[in-house]
Symmetry: C2
Subunit: 417 residues, 2 copies
């Protein structure tokens, strides 16, 4: 209670109304009042303000209901844009989305992993500039950039607390430096948390539900969303599912824990296992010296799909390990659904979905209370980048910074603080 | 957002003010406004209402600050009471607390585990009646009963979803039957969640913090509190830490999972391990036919404290397993502290606290972001029963049912929805 001061209620009301308009696509003021529980007078005032800010437009009349036909309102999708940047070990993905969450531009490039941040971040900024220019997006309409990456992070400071991809990235002010290079506000967030909130925004899940996301790229991360808000914990370093232990007697991980899920089920582990299986590495044309783990892993996943018994065995074992961790996640957070997102579910997603669902159905403590559905992400490989852009939309709009001119802050967000 | 309708804000304001008065013990209206962020006019109105309901009294003047001396307000602790009942496999604990959370009466008795609910619940009701009579508590001032037990549960329906202690308890309407027998509202909740919220109420932890609780009696449960509210998840069956797996290759548990923590670290497991250790069972005078696991476990814990190497080895191994699960819990929920509560931490609590702290310090993924403190419960063995009573106080007062005459509902609470 004490963490939710009363003065936050005005912008929250505005964000709520905008969120309902967005998910309804087209809605009357009367329907808005019913959906939000707000009074007609409050709805009229908030909608007037949103129209004044060009975020919402009136658009025709609703179906006749006996009385006076009702004027419908809807989002003005091209009024604002936001950018999502995902920094991964191998790849950097950049997307631009409009106010309705539709992707209007996308690019990706490799090589960031081998550069120090002083070189990598200007390169990212140049790519963002080029993408906005190509898509002919007016920069004055860009709310900001959601930069998403792995944890742990100091989200408020906009700093990564991990020596990845290299030691030089640890404690580097990534959000501030990217903001300076771009002249746009940048907020840093966890990639898996971003992927999770992106699913909500895209309408995959019931907005009132409690659901989780397992995000698998090179590493494995997680996010949980409760009634439309990211579960943050004390420092936004929550749901690090890749580094929960699945084996109390397992090997030590560089993170300090033993038996970490990532070392059993993640792409690097599978590539290692495949290379150690006689004949399999050669059959799948794996390159033992490759630095791009995702491409090597994709070969294994593709072979599993087409029936190679060795590859299939490895992917199924990985799926069982993930299922095991999904049971822990669902058991602790009491989830209704878990979304599988990220590039490493792209190829063999249906094997993963089927086997994780089986594990959860068999093993979950509270299965008498309700089922937990395992579902594929609507945003697929780009879920984290899209989610990063969505976090900016939500943060800027909900906190009542609708004018892109208000760019005092370079980094940080109090959205769910 | 959608789950928190606007009409709930009035009672929330009232609950917030009451909570600040309670934790401050004595506070002026001006200080209340500063602490809550509410306007002076709102504070005056809410305080007037609380005084009218006899929940708050004016009590002298504050220290002079230069201007007019301020009238202080404080809780009227004897205005209301609530009852906490913990149903465990071996023992039933009943406590009565006043509005300030002080325990005014306590009793416990054994044997409930061997009875069907039709016989056990009237016995519990008779004990509650006797306790209230002995403590001379006016029944009109009793807000209700918090009945706490293990999960899974259907909390809204007031039903246990587990065949424990015996098959007859599965799906039995325990909350409704106890409410009928007592003529008092009864809400059912999870014992570990109750223990967790009890710590907050008693002031052990910062009210804005995110912390967890590991509750160990015969079984092992868990709870998480975020800014003063129990983390509920989708069906209030969250944080079942006794049934997360610590070994993907472990034995199957009756719950359906494999390698469950409870079967490695819980009191039953330790008694089994002690009896299987040559000479140890006899040395500690363990009874292989005993049904009261807690008493047998207490012998092992006591011997560990006094330096019996065999017993100490078993308790330390149990603590390492619990530390392993605590790392998972802290890693997923991003906790600032974990409270150890319940009767099975009573004897060897300091061994557990030390070793769990060591594991968390060494193994936690986000330890660069902040430390996680392992702390003993202020409510000790009775943490769950006291927490059950606290949940009733919070629920009734926050939801604006200050008059004990309002007893339409027999079971259920929407406190944290």
């Amino acid at each position: 209670m004490a963490s939710s001061p009363i003065w936050a209620s005005r912008p929250k009301t505005r964000g709520l109304v905008l969120d309902v308009i967005r998910s309804a696509r087209s809605i009357s003021r009367v329907e808005l009042a019913a959906a939000t529980g707000l009074t007609g007078a409050t709805i009229s005032e908030v909608v007037r303000e949103l129209i004044g800010d060009d975020l919402v437009v009136e658009a025709g009349r609703g179906a006749p209901t006996g009385g006076k036909p009702r004027t419908m309102v809807q989002l003005n999708p091209l009024a604002r844009y936001s950018v999502g940047v995902q920094l991964e070990r191998n790849t950097c993905v950049i997307v631009v989305i409009d106010l309705a969450g539709r992707q209007v531009a996308r690019t990706s490039f490799q090589g960031v992993a081998t550069m120090p941040p002083e070189r990598a971040l200007p390169l990212v900024a140049a790519q963002v500039d080029a993408l906005l220019a190509t898509a002919a997006v007016d920069r004055d309409r860009v709310l900001g950039v959601g930069l998403v990456s792995y944890g742990p992070q100091d989200r408020r400071a906009g700093v990564l607390l991990t020596p990845q991809p290299t030691e030089e990235w640890l404690d580097h002010p990534v959000a501030l430096r990217l903001a300076e290079a771009l002249g746009l506000p940048v907020l840093l967030d966890n990639d898996a948390a971003a992927a999770a909130i992106g699913e909500y925004w895209m309408g995959t899940v019931d907005p009132r539900s409690t659901y989780g996301c397992i995000y698998m790229a090179t590493g494995i991360g997680g996010g949980v969303v409760v009634a439309g808000e990211v579960y943050r914990g004390s420092s936004s370093n929550s749901v690090e599912i890749g580094h929960i232990s699945i084996d109390v007697n397992g090997d030590e991980c560089p993170c300090g824990n033993v038996g970490c899920l990532e070392n059993y089920a993640g792409p690097s582990a599978l590539v290692r296992q495949a290379l150690a299986t006689p004949g399999l590495g050669r059959r799948l044309a794996l390159d033992p010296t490759a630095t791009d783990v995702l491409t090597e892993f994709a070969r294994i996943a593709a072979a599993a799909n087409t029936g190679d018994a060795g590859a299939r065995g490895l992917v199924e074992q990985s799926a069982r390990y993930l299922g095991h961790a999904a049971v822990t996640m669902a058991c602790l957070f009491d989830l209704e659904a878990i979304v599988l997102a990220g590039p490493s579910f792209a190829v063999a997603g249906s094997i993963y979905q089927t086997m994780i669902q089986q594990e959860v159905d068999r093993r979950l403590f509270a299965r008498r209370a309700h089922q937990v559905r395992i579902v594929p992400s609507v945003n697929g490989s780009d879920a984290a980048a899209i989610g990063g852009a969505v976090l900016v939309l939500r943060s800027e709009l909900t906190l009542g910074h609708p004018h892109p001119q208000d760019r005092a802050r370079a980094a940080g967000s109090d959205e769910a603080g």
